[in-house]
């Protein structure tokens, strides 16, 4: 599976590293810069990125200026910033940013937003490979070792969420919200039942781990 390349420009090294750490395990390739000017200079040489995460307040060159340069290479941009005033948001989004996330943020939220941006920009693949499983998003089919396995719609959605956030634990509540929707009034028990089905049908007993208190995690 080809990895999506992510450009991270964030002057707070701990935060940049944290994002990179999480994205890496979820199967993204990351490149970090801590200075706006350096990032802009490096882009001239190398600009094969699928998405860019930019801080607004950057040394060297601020995020809004960098936004123009990054979008000129056709790279979609998500702003990550501590500035949560409306003016900055409007300026960022009107300047061509795809999304705007205010610190402090949840890594899971960032990943969902990144997925959406990638989907909108057709940078995400229609076919996802994980372990020996092949998921075709267009055909809505799942193959294990080339053999098609029939999944119920909710099981398919659940698998997609787990695969997209592989190696990251997702709570039952979060899964319920992302798969069944915000309005779904069901119990977290529903999630357990569907996880059980997935484990059985795809023989993922060892790979879908139950993490105590945190939920489920698909491990590669």
């Amino acid at each position: 599976m080809p990895q999506n390349r992510v450009l991270i420009v964030e002057d707070e090294i701990p935060i940049a590293k944290m994002i990179a750490m999480n994205l890496k395990v979820a199967g993204y390739e990351t490149v970090m810069f801590h200075d706006g000017k350096e990032a802009a200079d490096a882009l001239v040489e190398e600009h094969a990125y699928d998405i860019a995460l930019l801080d607004v307040m950057l040394p060297g060159m601020d995020g809004f200026a960098l936004l123009e340069i990054v979008t000129s290479y056709g790279i979609p941009v998500i702003f990550l910033t501590a500035k949560d005033d409306i003016g900055s948001k409007v300026q960022g989004l009107q300047g061509g940013a795809e999304d705007y996330i205010v610190k402090p943020f949840e890594i899971l939220e960032l990943m969902v937003r990144m997925e959406k941006v990638l989907e909108r920009n057709k940078k995400s693949d229609d076919v996802i490979h994980v372990l020996d499983i092949e998921i075709n998003l267009l055909e809505h089919t799942v193959r294990k070792n080339g053999e098609e396995i029939s999944l119920k719609p909710m099981e398919f959605e659940l698998l997609c969420v787990l695969v997209r956030n592989k190696n990251i634990a997702i709570s039952r509540e979060e899964l319920l919200r992302r798969v069944w929707g915000v309005d779904y009034m069901g119990e977290t028990r529903t999630v357990d039942v569907h996880i059980g089905q997935l484990r059985k049908k795809l023989s993922l007993n060892d790979n879908i781990k139950t993490i105590s208190k945190m939920g489920y995690r698909l491990e590669e």
Binding site: E12, K17, M18, K103, A169
Partner: protein, 464 residues
Amino acid sequence: MRLKTKIILICCSSILFSLAVCSIVIYNLVKKNSLDAAEGQSFKNVLTVFSKLEDRIDTLNNRKENAVDRKVLQYILKQQKDEMLVCFYQAGEEGVEIFNCTVLEQKDFEALEYNPVSDSGMEMAQMQWENRHFFVYLDYLQVGDDKYIFYWMEDVTYVWERMQGLAFLLILLTVVITMLVCFFLFIVLNKVLMPLKKLNDGAKQIAKGQYDDRIAVERKDEIGELSDNFNQMAEAVQLRIRKLSEEEEKRTLFMGNLTHELKTPMTAISGYAKTLLTVKLPEEDKEEALTYIYEESCRLERLSKKMMNLLLLSEDEEINLAEVSAEALFRNAREACMGKLLEDGICLECHEDGESFFVDADLFTEVLINLIDNARKASTKGDCIILSAAENSIEVRDFGKGIPEEEKERILEPFYMIDKSRSRKSGGAGLGLAITAIILKRHHCRMQIESVLGEGTRMILQFV
């Protein structure tokens, strides 16, 4: 009611009232005088008439005893052709008309109230008949045994006519004068009250928040004074508002910076903790995450300590001023900074000559530590920092990269960092100089910053 209307109304009514009183007095005086004059005149006339009549009767009586009886008298009266003369013969209660050209009857005359006229023996009354005014004189005449009553009337309507003219004139004058005064007052008040309107407009502008409007009223009277004071007030309000909004702005900026400074480590700490909990990480990543959590919490701790300092110092807490020798101050500061200085390979020279300063030893040491720390951050390996004392000042000098001209003002602001990423790496939060500035302010000490880019910086603490 508007002030102008009020003033005009009060003035006009008082003028009207006084004019009316004057007119009435004048009218009455003139009327009395005219009536007196008319009375004198008519009295002269009646004397002439009666003396002429008596002369005739006497002449006739002298010629022949008892020659004059009723018939003769009637004849004489007819001859006199005086239409105003009326004569009755008094017989008991009833009077007999002897001569009367008027339409009046005896009872009409008797109904009048008579007053004696001086000592002439005559009596007089005033009578009104069909819009005409008369004086009526009454005289009794004894001819032989017969007693006659004479009435003589004089028309004095002209007096009343004249009085009417006078009354009309007085009313006209009153009205005209009042109107003139009204008009004059209107014009004058307009002119006088114009600045009040301007003041009012100015006050409205200020109420709307337009504090830079001033009123141009060039006058030496109370209104001029008022507008001067008004302008001064507007000036004061404007200054105060500007100061308040500047403070507000500063506070917002401070809060914004503080939130940013808090948010970043918080995001990192909670993010790494969550990552450790949920993500299957390789061993070295786990260690790195833990290191970052530790470092970022240290940063938060430092920040909160400095914030406490800043807040405590901002409040008007007492500071313990005492005579402290420069040597002691320098020794304390040197001890505190030595570790980092050695680490960075920077030397510190102290020059003092037994000077002493009246300061709070702990706080002032903090100032020196902050300044030396900044100097250290600006210097590179092998540089020297010079700490020297003079009679009324202390100087911290480095030979580092210097401060750009446009940043000199701002470096005292809380959270301001010239080189953000570098300061972060060396553990700064941008509060050191802000704290220093507050401490110096409490000591009434001025800080002078002399800096040349690339050559170094001199921070001179000048005691006042």
